[in-house]
């Protein structure tokens, strides 16, 4: 239903009784404020049941955590939790929220590296993740006897290793 004074949707609905007559009033938020009505507060369900909402959220996050898997090396969350050891550099991003917690608690709240860095640090990270994935694909190709694909991957790996000009 639209506002009595314009085309905006009405948010205030009232029945006004004046001198024995009753009249329905429908106002948009702007005209409601102008007429001195308090605006109704929208209350989402999660606010009415805040605990239920957060439990659901935590559960959803946990289930996302549990199903997390590193795309580069294939390490699953279950294996990581059992061994406390990561599979490859890309795991740091794949299991980010958990890794963050583990590191912060082990490192007395520290969250960032302040020490030395190698020359070309960020570029190294990009290449290393790509390389781990290619090595895994190569092993899979050999296991599946897809030798043509394996040869192609091996050449690509070699190209990645040769120093760029």
């Amino acid at each position: 239903m639209n506002c009595d004074h314009c085309d905006k949707p009405a948010v205030v609905h009232e029945i006004v009784i004046k001198g024995g007559d009753s009249k329905e009033v429908h106002l948009c938020s702007d005209h409601a404020i102008a007429a001195g009505y308090p605006l109704p507060v929208e209350q989402p369900l999660a606010d009415i049941f805040p605990k239920l909402g957060s439990v659901a959220k935590v559960e959803a996050a946990k289930s996302k955590e549990r199903s997390a898997k590193c795309a580069a090396c294939g390490l699953t969350f279950t294996i990581f939790r059992k061994s406390a050891t990561l599979g490859c550099p890309a795991c740091y991003d794949a299991f980010m929220p958990m890794i963050e917690k583990v590191i912060e608690s082990a490192q007395d709240g520290a969250t960032h590296h302040l020490g030395r860095s190698p020359v070309g640090g960020a570029e190294i990270e990009r290449v290393q993740n790509l390389r781990v994935k290619m090595m895994r694909d190569l092993e899979a190709a050999i296991a599946a006897e897809q030798y043509e694909r394996a040869a192609k991957l091996r050449d690509e790996l070699k190209a990645l290793d040769s120093p760029s000009p």
């Binding site: 580069a72 090396c73 294939g74 390490l75 061994s83 406390a84 050891t85 990561l86 599979g87 490859c88 550099p89 795991c91 740091y92 890794i99 583990v102 590191i103 082990a106 490192q107 007395d108 709240g109 520290a110 969250t111 960032h112 590296h113 302040l114 020490g115 030395r116 860095s117 190698p118 070309g120 640090g121 960020a122 190294i124 990270e125 290449v127 290393q128 790509l130 390389r131 781990v132 090595m135 895994r136 092993e139 990645l160 290793d161």
Partner: protein, 355 residues
Amino acid sequence: MSQPFSAAMSQVGPDSDVVVTSRVRLARNISGFPFISRASNPVRQEIMRVVRRAVDQSCNGIDHDQGMRWIELQSAPSRDRILLSERHLVSRHFANSDGPRALALSNDEHSSIMVNEEDHLRIQFLCAGSRLSDAFKEAFALENALANCTNFSFHPRWGYLTACPTNVGCGIRMSAMLHLPGAQIMKETDRIKRAAKELHLAVRGYYGEGSESIGDFFQFSNQTTLGATEDALLEEFNGIVLPRLIGYEREARTAALARYRSRIEDIVFRAHANLSAARLLTADAATKDLSRMRFGVVMGLLPIELTTIQRLLLQVQPAHLSLIDPRSLESEEADREVRATYVRQELLRGTTDTK
């Protein structure tokens, strides 16, 4: 390796009365390879090839006079692997585990690189006495040399990436092996251990992670590796923590000697008598008595050189003993007999030398 003792473990250095050895170890992984737990044997071989090439290019070559030796542990005789672990050059886990793995070792045995341990590389410098700054400098010199020939895994936020996420950042472990008989007699060891934990230090036994303390030897090491520079971590450990631990132990020794002189003399001289007379001796019993004698030597109670004690502490270990006399391998009784005979002779010689 067949030489009967290595440099670091049998020498003495600054503050050797308390600090047996100093060590700095850097964890690094070669960029573009999975960590060890996800690396198949062919991948581990490839990692070894990459590291070997880097060592060959950067450290005066392999098997040259000033270069490093390359020892492949999967094909090394079991005695050699135990020798390396007794010299604290490899962890016991690394000595006994499976799969392609290697140790690059400098001729003086101070510098070494474990390849395919928990991380692809564990770059280490080990020396006698309290010399952490030297160890720090040398370990980074080796790391720098290798970094010129290969790329290490690095993350802009987390720093050097390690297989275990709790080692990220600088990937540095500084440790000092301390001899704490004074604290032990004054029953202060537990308090020191508690204080160390509050300072985020790990306290371990004679052979590092998972090992028991034998003969009042404890290994202290930093656990914080993130959120501070390498230099700040060194300054904290070497400039603040270590001097306090050394000072504390010295005070405990003085207090112990003032209060329990006869008891301490009894412990020290009985240990000497025991080792001078025993006909059968286990490695553990010998280590314990040598530790008591070490205390007597540094307190001026026994006229024996500290280097003699240090050398014997290493030589009584089973693999080292078998280098001196292979008959020790024949049976358990033979092992004990050879050890007792050797220690007796050496103590007789050590005492005569100083007269």
